[in-house]
Symmetry: C2
Subunit: 192 residues, 2 copies
DNA sequence: ATAACCATGTAAATGGTTACATGATTAG
DNA sequence: CTAATCATGTAACCATTTACATGGTTAT
């Protein structure tokens, strides 16, 4: 799913400008599982316009660039449907935080705590945001995806909360063992 | 976290060839939260070698290219540690499947069921894989990350299992309503 | 026999991010 | 007065993916 398809999907939910699409990708219903910035959205919209998949009406404004409101065309709707019927690629996740936690023993305590607690509050924030949405009157697909997001954030929040104390305690203990071991081998010259 | 850092991390767990690293990224402990293919691994290893972050010993083989076994050097270990102390980027997820489920009403039933059940069995497979690993004697960080992975897969498996019936029923119902509505407006010519 | 596995790598193409460029308006 | 918001876009850069190139070995 490239940015062009994402834009078609977002426009299926209603007309929007490039600027508004960016916000939707950041905070809206796609935020959790896809992302895009201006540098990819604006070129995508121009390409879609050239392909006839969206139409554009310009609203003149004073003091800022004219607002370009894009709408999904029937061709674009067909294109979206075609993309939705492709075989889906496997999910791709990149998480620096998990990579760092994996190597917890190599981190200094302050950094580890910062990263951990930042992650936990991030999930709490996402969960709160999801729970503040109004669930009435949305189609089955969208409701289902919201529920899945909520299940995900809840499980991560729970795991991070429940294992916090023990995790830090264990990492600390192992770091102390490693440190004393290193001191020992430096003293006795057994290293290498 | 670029592929170079991933390689350093993987080599921290033990010496390996490019080929073995690829497998580790596919099936090993990083599989869930980072990915890389040959096209990025081999150039990364050569760059790391030039930077002195890894060393390489060649094992001559007959009938296939000589095996190049890479090891993390002290410089590389320091580099890994430095990377681990950067501020982590936000997690990035791209999920075609979730995007498709979001637009469930636009999919034909067979495709929707295929995608849904494929996703469910994917999570089951991952969970099974995780549960078959031996948890004794691994450091706190790695154990923690495994647990987090398990929590994630379990919650997804549970959500998809529990909501399956209702999801299809609701989508079907809404598609039928939409279809009859479209038939109606075509007959009466109210469209546009 | 056929497919999968072992084992390396390059080059082109794709796609996305970041930085740059501009600048008025509105809320704190 | 400062920061955030509104609003568009380009160009250079970066990273990754895909396709290509090679070819013996092992399991089904």
């Amino acid at each position: 799913m490239d940015v062009k398809t994402l834009c078609l999907g977002a426009l299926k939910l209603g007309d929007a400008t490039g600027y508004e699409l960016k916000k939707q990708f950041e905070e809206g219903p796609f935020a959790h599982f896809h992302q895009a910035g201006y540098g990819s959205i604006y070129p995508a919209l121009n390409a879609l316009l050239a392909e006839g998949k969206v139409t554009c009406r310009e609203e003149i404004q004073k003091g800022r660039p004219d607002k370009k409101v894009y709408s999904l065309s029937p061709v674009g709707e067909a294109g979206l449907q075609a993309a939705l019927h492709q075989r889906p690629a496997l999910d791709k996740v990149r998480s620096d935080v998990v990579f760092m936690l994996f190597f917890a023993e190599m981190l200094d305590e302050a950094h580890l705590r910062g990263v951990y607690d930042g992650y936990l509050s991030y999930f709490r924030h996402c969960l709160e945001h999801l729970q503040n949405l109004d669930d009435t009157d949305i189609p089955a697909g969208r409701r289902f995806v919201r529920g899945m997001g909520a299940a995900f954030y809840e499980s991560m929040e729970a795991y991070l909360s429940e294992n916090r104390q023990e995790f830090f305690a264990t990492v600390d203990a192992q770091e102390k063992v490693a440190a004393s071991f290193e001191t020992k081998i430096k003293k006795t010259g057994t290293d290498q």
